[in-house]
Symmetry: C2
Subunit: 289 residues, 2 copies
DNA sequence: CAAAGCTGTATTATCGATCATACAGGTTCC
DNA sequence: GGAACCTGTATGATCGATAATACAGCTTTG
């Protein structure tokens, strides 16, 4: 009666191996078990193992050498393409200037209930909806859907939106943006986002939903962002604050955001400053084994 | 030549419909197109559409009424089981006391290179590795893998770890925890995590990797957390700081940190505070059961 | 050099997912 | 009540994913 819809054995093996690699169980540069061994271990055929390895290779996690074996791609160069941001999205406005943006959709529509609700619109009010893709080095990494009230959207043109950060346009119009709330989550890539981000359909995505308010408390921008997790992630530094009973983590705000100094000073902090460093990555060191 | 390994048409349709629902295109409580209509629209058979709807129903996103239709489940009660945290993980220690924890694994092992690196261990040093699952109301929502240096792990017992937050145990041992860095990302559920979190294997997960340092700069805890996105998400309030040229968002620290429930209170916030909290919604007065 | 192990490739067979179709039973609306 | 819709269920045919096997070519090792 039941079939459980087991979504592809190859995918299962792929995920399992991927976990082992990112968890570090398989050392970078090391060779993982041969295809026949993997097939036996997971009770599948070698063809299926092969499909899993194909996926890993396509993502740059492993490298196959005919006659020799399959190796974990040691270069961390895959990861830190886009990363870091000490406090939240602090440098997005900068990125708006240093990255390419493709405007996929632009128009005025009737808002969904969720959008109208978050922007505090009256029934009947329309919104400007835009879909953009951000690229870095020609590779897409974020898929942005924004909604702004119609009266605000009319203060700039489609061409301007394609060229400048939305928040800049909003502030240019005279609207004050003081507060915002946001939520970070995860989902699977749907058809449109997958196509725009150059991904398979079931790929995982980081989501950011942000609502920007003007001082009066009215919402002026609803942003829904999807990020490729291999090209983007949220980094932050924390400090422990509070007294005994109520100690908790808090984002470290006043942080040396200038990439230049910091490193020079503490370069000699005894033996090593563990990797996983946010700002200015460990890739500067480039030590391998 | 290639077949592209299209991972299940049913999954594609499921994702597409899910996107429409969460995006609000399909109003909560509304009826979505009939199965024959959906089948025609996406050029698949009705059986396949059915499988997609099965998935949606299992997740509580839709409700099927024989003879009537399939409806978007209006109660948002599904979503905000666990949510919010104004500044990062501020209340995790509280949650450690109000939720159940299941210890799945506990032992001392040789660290992977990545772990040893982030904790600043010397070659040969061992680490304590533990895997825990956190439940709220009996439902799992997070899967935590922690690594701490052996000398630190020996200061508490397995039973203590199962009962108290790890950070509390670390601080009890006299180690000062002042700083930490963390990264938020997304992945797909592997076999172990999927089983522990009661999910399908390819499900999306929120990840949090945090490294806690003692004042000397040595790492004392490496935490890798996986969260069910439908039961957990990171919320934060932002304020805009800086002068003209360098305006950016910054986490709002001293904020009324009780966005939690209190539906009673916020009933009077009128339109001024547009909620942002998904917990609300005009017609979604909730609720079933 | 030769043996052993590996990846790359092809073949055929099997099993599950999908399709197309039909029918049963409930709901809605006229 | 009855027509028109809907979901629930079953059938057999078709297509893709997987299995089992075999072989070619390369690399490593002794």
């Amino acid at each position: 009666m039941k079939s459980a819809v087991e979504p592809l054995k190859a995918r299962r093996i792929y995920l399992l191996l991927r976990d082992r690699i990112v968890a570090g169980e398989l050392p970078p540069g090391g060779r993982l078990p041969g295809e026949p061994a993997l097939a036996a271990e997971h009770a599948v055929s070698r063809v299926t193992v092969r499909r899993a390895l194909d996926l890993l290779e396509k993502e740059g996690l492993v490298q196959r050498k005919p006659g020799s074996g399959t190796f974990v791609h040691d270069s961390r160069s895959v990861r830190p393409i886009v990363a870091d941001l000490s406090n939240v999205l602090s440098h997005l406005i900068d990125m708006g200037r240093s990255t390419d943006v493709k405007l996929l959709s632009f128009g005025y529509v009737a808002p969904s209930e969720a959008i109208a609700d978050s922007l505090g619109l009256k029934p009947g009010e329309r919104v400007q909806r835009s879909v953009r893709v951000r690229l870095i080095d020609g590779e897409p990494f974020s898929y942005l859907t924004t909604h702004v009230p119609e009266w605000l959207g009319l203060t700039y043109s489609e061409a301007e939106l394609a060229a400048r950060p939305l928040l800049e346009l909003i502030e240019r119009s005279g609207v004050k943006t003081e507060r915002a709330t946001q939520a970070i989550n995860a989902t699977l890539a749907g058809p449109e986002a997958a196509a725009a981000l150059d991904l398979e359909i079931g790929s995982p995505l980081l989501t950011l939903t942000r609502i920007v308010y003007e001082p009066s408390g009215r919402g002026v921008e609803h942003l829904h962002a999807l990020y490729r997790p291999d090209r983007y992630s949220f980094h932050m530094d924390l400090v422990r604050i509070g007294d005994d009973g109520e100690r908790r983590w808090s984002p470290a705000l006043g942080w040396p955001r200038a990439p230049n100094k910091t490193k020079a000073d503490k370069a000699k902090t005894d033996k090593n400053k563990p990797g996983e460093k946010p700002t200015r990555g460990p890739r500067a060191i480039k030590q391998r084994s």
